[in-house]
């Protein structure tokens, strides 16, 4: 108990946690952002090109079965150590939920609604931006939430490839058998994940078009 209190009240450690929390958020959000930039357009493309949907989903699904720590490890020979391999691995991991939900969301838009849009003289691009995307926002946002929460978790592993983040402190805690350090790294990262889950859940409700809200 004493050890926990001295560790947590040490200003050097507090400083370090703050620094690592920033690193952690940076790397998680960059990975998710990149994944959104790639997966949403790709998901839309797959709904226009059904033939490719199955193979692409299978490949992305297979990536997901590789244990995350192994995926990170594979990146070392390719990209060295530091933030690059971490970002690449986290990005690959973030892809699947967003891609799958974008594809499923757009495909689930009612045919009749599309027909109506077309009947009003909408071009395909207008249909996409004015009908299909708004109607599937909720599902897409759900994918983004799932990705973000799991990426914040997996980003703790980035410490293994020298990319920093809160995992560093947890690992030092393991190495030094220090409960204080484990908690000092573990609690903020848990809070971060819970907070992201909560906030993105809110956002999910907020972006649902009024007519679709339950």
């Amino acid at each position: 108990m004493n050890e926990i209190i001295t560790t947590l009240s040490n200003p050097r450690i507090q400083q370090q946690i703050l620094e690592q929390a920033k690193e952690h958020l940076m790397i998680s959000f960059s990975a998710v952002l990149l994944a959104i930039l790639i997966a949403v357009p790709l998901g839309i493309f797959l709904t226009r090109c059904e033939r490719l949907a199955n193979p692409v989903m299978t490949v992305v699904g297979l990536l997901q079965t590789i244990p995350s720590i192994a995926l990170l490890a594979f990146m070392i020979p390719l990209l060295g150590i530091g933030w690059r391999p971490a970002l690449a691995a986290l990005f690959l991991y973030a892809l699947l939920p967003i891609l799958r939900n974008t594809y499923a969301g757009i495909r689930s838009v009612d045919r009749g609604v599309l027909e109506a849009g077309r009947g009003m003289g909408m071009t395909p691009l207008q249909l996409l931006f004015l009908v299909e995307l708004p109607m599937s926002f909720r599902v897409i946002m759900n994918g983004i939430r799932v990705s973000t929460v799991s990426i914040i978790g997996w980003a703790t592993l980035a410490a293994f490839v020298g990319a920093g983040g809160l995992g560093d402190t947890i690992l030092s805690g393991f190495a030094l058998v220090s409960t204080g350090l484990i908690l000092a790294g573990g609690i903020p990262v848990t809070l971060m994940a819970l907070l992201a889950d909560f906030l993105l859940g809110r956002l999910e409700k907020a972006v649902t078009p009024r007519g679709l809200a339950i």
Partner: protein, 213 residues
């Protein structure tokens, strides 16, 4: 080629660790089944508990694995128990949620019919609700097992062994063959779990619920 050499030379170790890995994952999921199915049934009968129980299991799911290992380690130290406990905690959510969904999704007309035949509520549970919910519960088991097989790679950090031993040792030595030697079997186990339970699902679905071809 070099990798094949490595595998051939270290086959016994890899096999041992694969067995350990599978054992960890199975133990975690088994414990979660023993706890999760009764809890899922319980909350389906006491709706007041649905919110809190699902909220807690969801929150557990959100805890990053490295942090959860650390938290559990504080209580159980470096041991197999720590590994199994962490996997158990992660497996709870899919199993409880799917048991609950499966049991509550049974058509109320069917339950009415069973009651009309004079079944007790225990009989209804055992002979009607659970068989009809089995397919959905198995989906939960599949999700739980695939996650457990994946997360089990981390459990060597908790001193619980498994293929993570090779992966982490490989990272330390920047030895790609070693990393692959741990990661490939782990990935294969995950795919196998997915396919295997998928087959079991089809087999255990009652005849009347089988999709017609």
């Amino acid at each position: 080629m070099e990798f094949l050499n490595y595998v051939v030379h270290n086959a016994p170790t890899i096999l041992d660790l694969t067995g350990e890995h599978l054992q960890l994952a199975l133990m975690g999921v088994l414990c979660a089944l023993l706890v999760g199915v009764p809890v899922g049934i319980f909350i389906s009968r006491h709706p007041r508990w649905v919110g809190p129980v699902l909220w807690i299991t969801n929150a557990i799911q959100t805890i990053p694995s490295l942090a959860l290992i650390g938290f559990v380690m504080i209580f159980l130290g470096l041991s197999r128990e720590t590994g199994v406990t962490v996997l158990f905690l992660y497996a709870l959510m899919p199993i409880i949620r799917n048991t609950y969904t499966g049991v509550t999704a049974v058509d109320s007309g069917i339950i009415e019919a069973a009651r009309g035949m004079g079944m007790t509520s225990w009989q209804i549970l055992r002979m009607v609700q659970l068989p009809l919910a089995l397919a959905i519960i198995l989906v939960g088991v599949r999700v739980a097992l695939v996650t457990a097989v994946g997360t089990a790679s981390m459990m060597s950090l908790a001193g619980a062994g498994g293929l993570g031993e090779l992966i982490f040792a490989g990272i330390d030595r920047v030895n790609t063959k070693m990393i692959l030697g741990g990661a490939l079997p782990a990935a294969m186990l995950a795919v196998l779990a997915e396919v295997g339970i998928g087959a079991l699902e089809r087999k255990l679905t009652p005849g009347g619920l089988q999709p017609t071809r």
